[in-house]
Amino acid sequence: MSTLAVIGHVARKEIRQILRDRRSLVLILVMPIVLTFLFGKALETGELRQIPSVILNLDGSPDSNVIVTAFSTYDEVEIERQVATLEEAQDLLAHGKIKAAIIIPAGFMRQIESGEDAQLQLLLDGTDNTSAPIVEGVAQRVIQRYNTERAIKGLWARGVRPDRGLRLIRPVYVQSEIRYNPGRQYLSYVMPGVIGLTLQLLTVMLMAITIPRERERGTLDQLMASPVTRTEIILGKLLPYFGISVLNVATILFVADRWFGIPVADRLPLLLLLCCLFVLTSLATGLLISAVSRTQFQAVQIAVFYVLPVFMLSGAYAPIEAIPDYIRPISYLFPLMYFSRAVRAVTLRAADIVQVWQDVTVLGGFVVVFLYWAVLSFHKRVN
């Protein structure tokens, strides 16, 4: 038999064993779907579109209602109702019922008219560091709009037509246009990371225990006594798990497309290529762990120590630019970083292979290096 035939022979044996272990098989096939769904749903709420808020109008003048109405035109805040007292607003905030209270102080409108220093007050829940700046931004825009309108009206009263008045005031608006991911949805940002983490978690764990399991059961002894080569064992073990992982890639992409609105279909071949390459890097990592572990327990331990830092350091949840300079080099050691960067480019700005070729190359490099390393660390002579 040729080397290829022996690899196939070893792979067939692995497949038999996998298929015979029904409980694990179900777990292997169902867990990715469940995990992707759960992770995705958990992070979906991180996307704060409407911040629950109340308004306390202590001014009460007819003009102040213009301000109140202005707030309700912004999508970012949801004015649940108006409250009557400061205590009520504070109470709601303290109980986490609302994230912000907008307070129009007594005499606010009069102060504006008379040109005094008028101050709108915001009570914000600082424990939620994402919603506070958003409310601040909305309040600023409301006041700016009110001021502009007031100035134009003032000029009109002095005989200046509104269009000329607008030119006189020349209000400055910052017009920013967000190019990619226009809704700036956190979910679409983080979903590639979630896909990567799910794929990696399973494959590393599954692969890591395969060789120590044979070692513990004694079957490795019998295998080592035969002329089968290290490469034949390693690749024979890799193949079936690669097959399973491709199945998982398909289901995960399906879940991402159906339930989380990630545009998978547009760039399916490229996404499949990225996922398969990434899965291979994870399998190779698992095999490397497998080759150096004496027991299954040890293998799982090492796998956990590998998978955990990946969560934090690979830019799956947040851009790696947020990681301090002296730690960031570690991020470049994780294939997940290149994978989520590339998938993000593909799903958020419809990048093609030319735009992500660097990441594709690096992932390919990881596969070759890790596999080679695994073969080298796996000794046929035992001590």
């Binding site: 044996k13 059961r217 019998q222």
Partner: protein, 313 residues
């Protein structure tokens, strides 16, 4: 006759412990060679070196004409190995295990089919071919393990305690198989604790504390024993053993049921001296007679007189 296995000063150390020390061994092609010795004597370590699983620390070994250090992988194609511990896949069937091991020995699909069938018949597992291996009894597992070591038709078989824990019937069955295999001209090196199994070998070698302390055919071993054996029938037997042990000229005593086996280098006057010593203590002596030594006697005598290997060189 050419030598199938030959070792020269074969030595293996694990850290400070010398598991095998300066082993010189010659196994002729086609013979059943028995390896005897207590646990930890270095039998398994020797076999693992001969199979190419373990590198020698010093010395050389040739198996099927090839050097174990240089040509380990080539040796693996020519030999079969049955480890001490059951090492087959419990979640594969009998037939799948045989087919898998035939495959890793690079047998083609056609060769595999005929070899697997033949081996199933030979080890008597044809009717259990579809059974999961983990459901087999101990004796059947051992036969399957032998089958897996045989399926690629090796020239040399290494069997590490192939009958450990087996009942007498299974053991008999296993030995019938081994004789068949040897009759085909294949060499078998087998380790065992059972002295009666050693009787079945053409050549036996005794190992103790990493050293070879005696070798030859069972008859040679018995003939060359440097001690005479006396059978002493006396009651009460335990007190008798104590008294015998204290008698000058006695080098060892073992209790066998109601009799004692007494080893001595100076046999001539011993029976009379023993009788005197025993009766003086009020022990009833029913008989003292010289007996031909058994292999067990040889083993006990050799183990007792062998110098311990100085460890931690």
């Amino acid at each position: 006759m050419p030598l199938a296995i030959e070792t020269t000063n074969l030595t293996r150390r694990f850290g400070a412990v010398t598991a095998v020390a300066n082993l010189n061994l010659g196994v002729r092609a086609g013979e059943i060679f028995g390896f005897l010795g207590p646990n930890g004597a270095g039998k398994t370590t020797t076999i693992r070196m001969l199979c190419g699983l373990l590198l020698p620390s010093e010395g050389t070994a040739c198996v099927a004409g090839m050097d174990v250090t240089r040509d380990a992988e080539a040796i693996k194609r020519r030999v079969g190995y049955m480890p001490q511990r059951f090492s087959l896949y419990g979640d594969l069937t009998v037939e799948e295990n045989l087919d898998f091991f035939a495959g890793v020995y690079r047998l083609s699909r056609r060769q595999r089919r005929t070899q697997v069938l033949e081996t199933l018949e030979r080890v008597g597992l044809a009717d259990r071919r579809a059974a999961l291996t983990e459901h087999l009894s101990g004796g059947l597992k051992q036969r399957l393990a032998l089958g897996c070591a045989l399926v690629h038709v090796p020239a040399i078989l290494f069997l590490d305690e192939p009958t450990a824990g087996a009942d007498p019937l299974s053991r008999q069955r296993m030995w019938d198989l081994l004789y068949q295999v040897a009759a085909e001209g294949r060499t078998i090196l087998v380790t065992t604790h059972y002295v009666e199994e050693a009787e079945r070998c053409q050549t036996i070698a005794f190992m103790h504390a990493g050293r070879l302390i005696g070798a030859g055919s069972p008859d040679q071993c018995r003939a060359e024993l440097g001690e005479a054996v006396l059978e002493v029938d006396a009651v009460p037997v335990m007190q008798a053993a104590e008294a015998v042990r204290a008698t000058p000229g006695v080098s060892g005593v073992s209790v066998y049921g109601h009799t004692l086996r007494v080893f001595s280098r100076t046999a001539a006057d011993l029976p009379r001296e023993l009788e005197a010593a025993l009766t003086s203590r009020g022990i009833v002596v029913r008989g003292i007679r010289p007996v031909p030594p058994t292999l067990e006697d040889v083993f006990m005598s050799l183990t007792r007189t062998a110098p311990d290997v100085e460890r931690g060189r």
